[in-house]
């Protein structure tokens, strides 16, 4: 049950998000291009609220530039690598009950055993998860979430949406995030003990840890992108497909060298015979 005491910091965050949503919402929905080829691409992207999403993306980028990235740079430069690894391991271990629940809900018994074993070893031998003792023993970890579980159960991703502060998502994954927020045992304990600020602290540290670990990669993607928004949208969807399939392949995605019925009809075989219209 949600207590009234949580209203403080979360209400403020909610208000900021609502304002950002409203401001972005003024820009309206995307209209399909008239050109048939461009229209077909537009429909495949399933991003009907692109203007809103781009506005939200710009808002998040602004927040990242003002707060998250500088914090990640300081975090990375000020703390020794071993401390950063310890924090990362601790946070990952704290999420183990959620990962385990999703392993079980997806019927992935081997992976559930792996998660349970890692949680037992790392919480004890690994001193509350700070040291990834299980990985040292050769048992690597993995991540799962409710969005992936809903996908395994057959739920489609739906349209693309950029959430304030949280970034790329879709209705299925957003529902997954909400579910996790409610059922995560750590959050339940924090709510029951009236220390809800801990949930926010954990979220912020998780965000800083993620940004710090991907500092150069994210900067490099931004630097080399012709359309950073589209690059992130594509990367998010590809990563999610990979995570949902647990690395068993994403063969239904378009790939170079593979013909598609639509393209076979539209294109001549030899590029040298193609000419501008």
């Amino acid at each position: 049950m949600i207590r009234t005491s949580q209203s403080g910091v979360f209400t403020k965050l909610g208000l900021v998000a609502l304002l950002a949503f409203s401001a972005a919402g003024l820009s309206g929905c995307a209209s399909a291009p008239k050109d048939p080829a461009a229209k077909a691409e537009f429909e495949r992207e399933n991003d009907p609220i692109e203007p809103f999403n781009r506005a939200m993306f710009a808002f998040n980028k602004q927040m990242d530039g003002m707060f998250l990235r500088p914090a990640a740079v300081i975090y990375k430069e000020a703390l020794p690598g071993v401390v950063q690894d310890g924090i990362h391991n601790f946070l990952a271990n704290l999420r183990s009950p959620v990962v385990l629940a999703n392993d079980l809900l997806q019927g992935e018994m081997d992976r559930a055993g792996n998660t349970a074993g890692r949680f037992a070893i790392n919480t004890t031998v690994g001193v509350l998860g700070v040291w990834d003792a299980a990985a040292y023993m050769g048992v690597e970890g993995h991540s799962e979430d409710f969005g992936q579980t809903f996908a395994v159960w057959g739920a489609g991703e739906g349209f693309y949406i950029v959430l304030p502060f949280l970034g790329p998502s879709n209705p299925r994954d957003a529902l997954g995030l909400l579910t996790e927020w409610y059922v995560d045992p750590v959050n339940i304990i924090a709510r029951n003990e009236d220390v809800e600020e801990l949930i926010l602290v954990r979220s912020v540290v998780t965000g800083v840890d993620f940004r710090a670990r991907n500092l150069e990669t994210i900067d490099e993607i931004e630097r080399t992108s012709l359309d950073y928004y589209v690059a992130i949208r594509s990367l998010y969807r590809q990563r999610r497909m990979e995570e949902i399939s647990n690395g068993r392949g994403t063969s239904d995605q378009p790939a170079p060298g593979i013909s598609y019925e639509r393209e076979k009809q539209e294109k001549p075989k030899d590029p040298s015979s193609a000419r501008a219209q």
């Binding site: 291009p33 050109d35 080829a37 461009a38 077909a40 691409e41 537009f42 992207e45 690894d85 081997d110 055993g113 792996n114 074993g117 990985a135 023993m137 050769g138 048992v139 690597e140 970890g141 150069e216 990669t217 490099e220 630097r223 080399t224 992108s225 012709l226 359309d227 589209v230 690059a231 949208r233 594509s234 990367l235 590809q238 990563r239 497909m241 990979e242 995570e243 399939s245 690395g247 392949g249 994403t250 063969s251 995605q253 378009p254 790939a255 170079p256 060298g257 593979i258 013909s259 639509r262 393209e263 539209e266 294109k267 001549p268 590029p271 040298s272 193609a274 000419r275 501008a276 219209q277």
Partner: protein, 214 residues
């Protein structure tokens, strides 16, 4: 059931030994005549040897990458793919111009990512038919610290030689990401494909200016 750590360690030691011996004994002609796995194994060891580390300048890394792309990737097929439905509207002259710029663009994209790697090894694990006479080769990059990174390469044979078509790292394909971005740039431009060529020209000029030669 999770395999025991001892067993896993033995397998890893065996894998490392096999990789070590493969790296030093694999014939250089594997790229021309061997299996798809042999081609990828050879290409990946060339990439690790030539492109990682900080002992070469950024411009040299880009130069080497471009050479590897031209020699071992089927750039025209990848070029057609990244243009997607717009390829039909591209003149031969535009396509040639686009391919040259795309080579430079990709070389700069990958160069930044390879720069931070040093000391990694690559295991090539298996292959399977990928449809339309292509083969998918699966492997993993073993990091110095951190979990292994999944690697997948799609290849096909052209004139008796293997050529790479796609490289996925943790399920993410750079050509697919480029295809989405290029469609967006073309869709938003009043000049169609020429708008993309202009944007690529601008981006590659910026990359060249930003890349130190020392």
């Amino acid at each position: 059931m999770t395999p025991s750590p001892v067993l896993l360690r033995k397998f890893r030691a065996l894998g490392a030994a096999l990789l070590f011996s493969a790296l030093f004994t694999w014939p250089t002609g594997a790229m021309q005549t061997g299996s798809a796995m042999g081609f990828v194994k050879d290409l990946s060891s060339t990439v690790l040897n030539q492109l990682t580390g900080t002992d070469i300048s950024d411009s040299e890394r880009v130069k080497r990458l471009r050479k590897l792309l031209v020699n071992h990737f089927d750039v025209p097929v990848v070029g057609k793919f990244v243009l997607g439905v717009y390829w039909r509207r591209t003149s031969k002259q535009q396509f040639d111009q686009f391919l040259k710029l795309y080579e430079i663009y990709v070389a700069h994209n990958y160069a930044g990512l390879f720069k931070k790697y040093h000391g990694e090894t690559i295991d090539i694990l298996r292959e399977q038919p990928g449809g339309d006479d292509t083969t998918q080769v699966f492997g993993r990059i073993n990091q110095v610290s951190g979990p292994p990174i999944a690697l997948e390469m799609r290849v096909h044979k052209k004139d008796g030689t293997f050529k790479a078509l796609d490289l996925k790292i943790e399920g993410v394909s750079m050509p697919l990401t480029h295809r989405k971005q290029f469609a967006s740039v073309i869709g938003r431009s009043s000049n169609g494909v020429q708008g993309l060529i202009d944007a690529l020209e601008k981006a590659t000029s910026r990359f060249e200016a930003e890349t130190p030669s020392q």
